[in-house]
C-alpha cells in the first residue's frame, strides 16, 4: 500500500448547520488551524474560497506557522442571491458569468498559496420538479462553463465533486458517469473529479468502481473521505463506520490504480468535537490500510481474479475473526 495523505476541511471546524439545527461554535481561521494541526496524521488543510482566502498573505502565514499544506481550495458556488436557479448551468448569462469568475478567482488563489487544486461541488445546479429545467440548454451551459473555468489556467487543476441530490431532489452533476461525460466534452487535462465517497454511496455506486473509472481516464484528482448508510442521505459520517468492506475495497483500489493524492476528511462532527471526529476518521482509514497490508494485496488480487466471493470472504474475514470456534 502507498502511504496515504490526510487533510481536514476548515469548513467543518466552525459553526455547522443543517436544515434544523446548528452545531459547534463559530471559530476563527486561526482556531481552525490550531485544531487541525493537533490531529495526529493530518498534514493538510482544505481551505474554503472565498471565506478563508480573503486575506491570502494571512492564510499563507497560518500555513507556514502550522506546518500544514493546503491540500485543496474548496470553492463555494451556492449563494442563493445569485445562484437561485443554478450557477454553471443557470439560464441567466449573468449568473453563469459570476460562477465562472468566482471559480477562476479560486484557481488564482490556489496558485498563490501553492495548492495546485480547486475542488467545487456544484450544489446550486439542480432541480426539484419534472418540467422545471430545460435539460438541453442546462447541460450545454454546464459544459461551457466548466470549460471556461478550466481553461483559465493550466497550472491549477479543477476537481468537480458530484453529488446525487441536495439541496435539490436532483443535481445536474449527480454521478461518476456525468463527471466523466463533462471531462470528455471539455477535453482539458486539468479538469477532473473529487470522489466524495459518501456521495458515491448516496448515488448507489461502489466507490471502488467509480475510482477505477476516474483513474482510468486520469481524472481522479482528489478524494473526500466519509461514510453513510447508503439511504441516500449524505450524513458525512466517520469513514468505515457503515461500509467497512466497501471502504477496504476502496483503499485496495487506490493502491491498484496508484492514487497518491489526498484523502480530505469531509466529516460533520455535530455533537462530537471536530478534532476527535477527524482523529478517529484518520485512524480508521489507517487501520484499514494496515489491515490490507497484513491481508496482502497480492493475495486479494488473486482471489478477485478467481471470482468466488465465498472464498474471498472466507479469506478476508479470517483477519478480523481469526478463531473459528
Amino acid at each position: 500500500m502507498n502511504s496515504l495523505k490526510f487533510s481536514a476541511s476548515s469548513g467543518f471546524f466552525g459553526r455547522r448547520r443543517d436544515r434544523f439545527t446548528e452545531y459547534q461554535p463559530d471559530r476563527t481561521l486561526e482556531e481552525k488551524f490550531k485544531l487541525i494541526r493537533e490531529i495526529p496524521g493530518i498534514r493538510g488543510i482544505e481551505l474554503k474560497y472565498p471565506l478563508d482566502l480573503k486575506d491570502i498573505p494571512f492564510a499563507r502565514r497560518l500555513l507556514a506557522d502550522s506546518g500544514l499544506v493546503c491540500s485543496a481550495v474548496n470553492a463555494d458556488v451556492k449563494d442563493a442571491t445569485h445562484f437561485r436557479h443554478g450557477a454553471l448551468s443557470s439560464p441567466s448569462a449573468e449568473a453563469r458569468q459570476r460562477a465562472v469568475s468566482l471559480l477562476r478567482g479560486a484557481m488564482d488563489a490556489a496558485a498563490e498559496i501553492g495548492a495546485g487544486l480547486v475542488t467545487t461541488c456544484p450544489v446550486a445546479d439542480g432541480y426539484d420538479y419534472p418540467f422545471q429545467v430545460e435539460f438541453q440548454s442546462a447541460w450545454g451551459h454546464f459544459v461551457e462553463s466548466a470549460a471556461a473555468v478550466a481553461s483559465h489556467r493550466c497550472d491549477v487543476r479543477l476537481a468537480l465533486e458530484f453529488q446525487p441530490r441536495e439541496p435539490h431532489a436532483y443535481t445536474i452533476l449527480s454521478s461518476v458517469g456525468k463527471v466523466l461525460h463533462v471531462c470528455a466534452e471539455v477535453a482539458l487535462l486539468n479538469l477532473g473529479a473529487n470522489l466524495d465517497v459518501g456521495h458515491s454511496f448516496a448515488a448507489r455506486e461502489s466507490p471502488a468502481e467509480s475510482a477505477v473509472l476516474l483513474a482510468g481516464k486520469g481524472r481522479l484528482f482528489y478524494v473526500h473521505s466519509n461514510d453513510n448508510p447508503g439511504d441516500g442521505g449524505d450524513w458525512d459520517m466517520i469513514s468505515g463506520t457503515v461500509h467497512f468492506w466497501h471502504w477496504l475495497e476502496l483503499l485496495y483500489t487506490f493502491d491498484r490504480v496508484g492514487y497518491d493524492g489526498w484523502l480530505g476528511g469531509d466529516i460533520v462532527a455535530k455533537h462530537m468535537g471536530p478534532g476527535e471526529a477527524y482523529d478517529v476518521n484518520t485512524r480508521m482509514i489507517q487501520r484499514m490500510a494496515a489491515l490490507l497490508n497484513r491481508m496482502d494485496t497480492e493475495t486479494i488480487r488473486r482471489l478477485i481474479a478467481e471470482g468466488n466471493p465465498a472464498k474471498t470472504f472466507d479469506y478476508l474475514s479470517r483477519w478480523l475473526l481469526p478463531n473459528d470456534a
Binding site: 443543517d18 434544523f20 439545527t21 419534472p130 459520517m237 455535530k270
Partner: protein, 396 residues
C-alpha cells in the same frame, strides 16, 4: 385528452341507476358477480343512495367539475380546513443555501393572509410565542385559527443528543417543563393539540444509543406531558431520518406502536405525507393503521420523490397516492379537521408556493371525491386493477 371529457362525472342526487355508455370504452368488460351493485359489461349500474354518477355531455368538462364540487359541498362534506406551518413562511435555508430571508411574525401573518383558502396557522413554539399578546392581536386581526402548536424538540443550544430520549435526566426534565408550557400556551389560544417532530431523538452511528432505555425515557416523558392536560392531543410526527441518519420514530407503525406501549389516550400521531413517502409507506395505508390504533390525530401535507423529505407541493410526484389518501381520510372520518402545509418555498416566491399548494390540494380532494364510494367498495372487493385503474383514470 378530448375523449376524457365524455367520461367526466357529476354527482346527481336523484337518479336510481344510470347507464354510463361513455365509460364502456374505458372500463373493461366483466361480470360484477352476484350481489354486487356495480356491473361492467353492457353498462355500468351505480348504487345510488347518496351521490350518483351520470354521464356528462362533452362540454369540455367544466360544467361537470362545477357541478361536482357543488354537489359535494351541498352534502356538507366535512371539508378539512387548510393551514400553513408558520416556520415555512419565514427563512428558508438548508445546509447549503439560504433562499428566503427570516421574517417577523407580523410578516408571516401578512404573507399567509395573501393566500386565499388558508384559514389557520400552525404556530411554532417557542419562536412564535415571544410576545403572546401581539400573537393574539394578529390572530384576531387576520381571523386565523390555530390547528396545532408545533413544539420544537430540536434546538441550536441544547438537546443535540435528543430531548425526551436524552440520557440526561435534567434535559428530559427540561423537555417536559417546556412542553407543559407549550400546552398551556396552546390552551390559551383554544388550540386542541401539540405536535412535535422528534428530529434529534435518534442516531447516526450503530452502538450510539441504548434503544430500550430511550423508549423507556420517552414513555416516562410523554406520560407526564400528556397527563398535564388530557384535553390537549399530543402528536408525534414520525420521520425516518434527517437530521439523524435514523430517528427513533421512523414509521407510522413505530409511532403507533409506541403510543400503544405508552397507553396514553391523548398521545397520537401527526401523519406527514412526505415523511410517510420517504419511509416507503403508502400514505393511505398509514392512515388506516393509525386510525385502527386510534392514533390518527393530525395531517401535514407535502410531497417528495420518495427518497428525501423535500417538502414539495402536494401532488408533484404522487398524484394517485394523494387521491387514495384523501379517499381513505374521508372514509375513516378525518373530517371538519385540518391539513397543515409543510411545504418549503425555496427559490419560488412564498405566497405563490402556498397558493399553488391550496389549489393542488383542493384539486386532489376533488379527484378523490369523484370516486363513488359504493363503486369503490365493489372494486376493492374484486381487487382487479384492470378494472380499478381504468375507473380511476376515467375520473380525471
Amino acid at each position: 385528452m378530448r375523449n376524457l371529457h365524455t367520461t367526466d362525472v357529476m354527482l346527481h342526487g336523484t337518479a336510481d341507476e344510470v347507464r354510463r355508455e361513455s365509460l364502456l370504452g374505458i372500463l373493461a368488460a366483466g361480470d360484477g358477480g352476484p350481489g354486487q351493485s356495480l356491473c361492467l359489461g353492457l353498462g355500468l349500474v351505480w348504487p345510488l343512495n347518496h351521490g350518483s354518477i351520470v354521464a356528462c355531455p362533452d362540454d369540455g368538462g367544466r360544467g361537470a367539475e362545477r357541478e361536482c364540487t357543488r354537489a359535494v359541498s351541498r352534502k356538507g362534506g366535512g371539508m378539512n380546513q387548510l393551514a400553513i406551518i408558520s416556520a415555512f413562511l419565514g427563512g428558508a435555508k438548508n445546509r447549503y443555501m439560504t433562499y428566503q430571508a427570516d421574517r417577523t411574525l407580523d410578516e408571516k401573518f401578512r404573507l399567509a393572509s395573501a393566500v386565499d383558502g388558508i384559514a389557520g396557522l400552525e404556530l411554532c413554539y417557542p419562536a412564535d410565542f415571544q410576545d403572546v399578546s401581539r400573537l393574539k392581536e394578529l390572530l384576531k386581526h387576520y381571523g386565523f385559527k390555530v390547528p396545532a402548536v408545533n413544539f420544537r424538540s430540536r434546538r441550536d443550544d441544547k438537546w443535540w443528543r435528543g430531548s425526551f430520549t436524552s440520557a440526561s435526566a435534567a434535559e428530559r426534565g427540561e423537555f417536559v417543563d417546556e412542553v407543559k408550557r407549550a400546552m398551556d400556551a396552546a390552551g390559551e389560544l383554544n388550540c386542541p393539540r401539540i405536535t412535535t417532530c422528534p428530529l434529534n431523538d435518534g442516531t447516526d452511528h450503530l452502538f450510539e444509543m441504548d434503544y430500550v432505555q430511550a423508549y423507556d425515557a420517552a414513555v416516562e416523558c410523554f406520560s407526564v406531558v400528556c397527563a398535564h392536560n388530557p384535553q390537549v392531543q399530543v402528536c408525534i410526527e414520525y420521520k425516518e431520518s434527517d437530521p439523524r441518519a435514523r430517528c427513533l420514530f421512523g414509521t407510522a407503525a413505530e409511532a403507533a406502536s409506541f403510543c400503544q406501549i405508552a397507553n396514553i389516550d391523548n398521545l397520537g400521531v401527526t401523519l406527514d405525507i412526505g415523511h410517510a413517502l420517504c419511509a416507503g409507506e403508502r400514505p393511505a395505508q398509514s392512515v388506516a393503521l393509525l386510525a385502527k390504533a386510534k392514533r390518527l390525530f393530525y395531517v401535514h401535507l407535502n410531497d417528495n420523490d420518495g427518497r428525501w423529505d423535500w417538502d414539495m407541493l402536494p401532488g408533484a410526484y404522487h398524484l394517485w397516492e394523494f387521491a387514495e389518501l384523501f379517499y381513505c381520510l374521508r372514509e375513516l372520518g378525518y373530517r371538519d379537521d385540518w391539513y397543515a402545509f409543510d411545504v418549503f418555498p425555496k427559490e419560488i416566491d412564498t405566497v405563490e408556493t402556498f397558493k399553488a399548494a391550496v389549489a393542488l390540494t383542493r384539486k386532489l380532494e376533488a379527484i378523490a371525491d369523484r370516486i363513488d364510494r359504493d363503486t369503490m367498495k365493489v372494486l376493492l372487493r374484486e381487487r382487479n386493477p384492470a378494472r380499478t385503474l381504468p375507473y380511476l383514470y376515467s375520473l380525471l
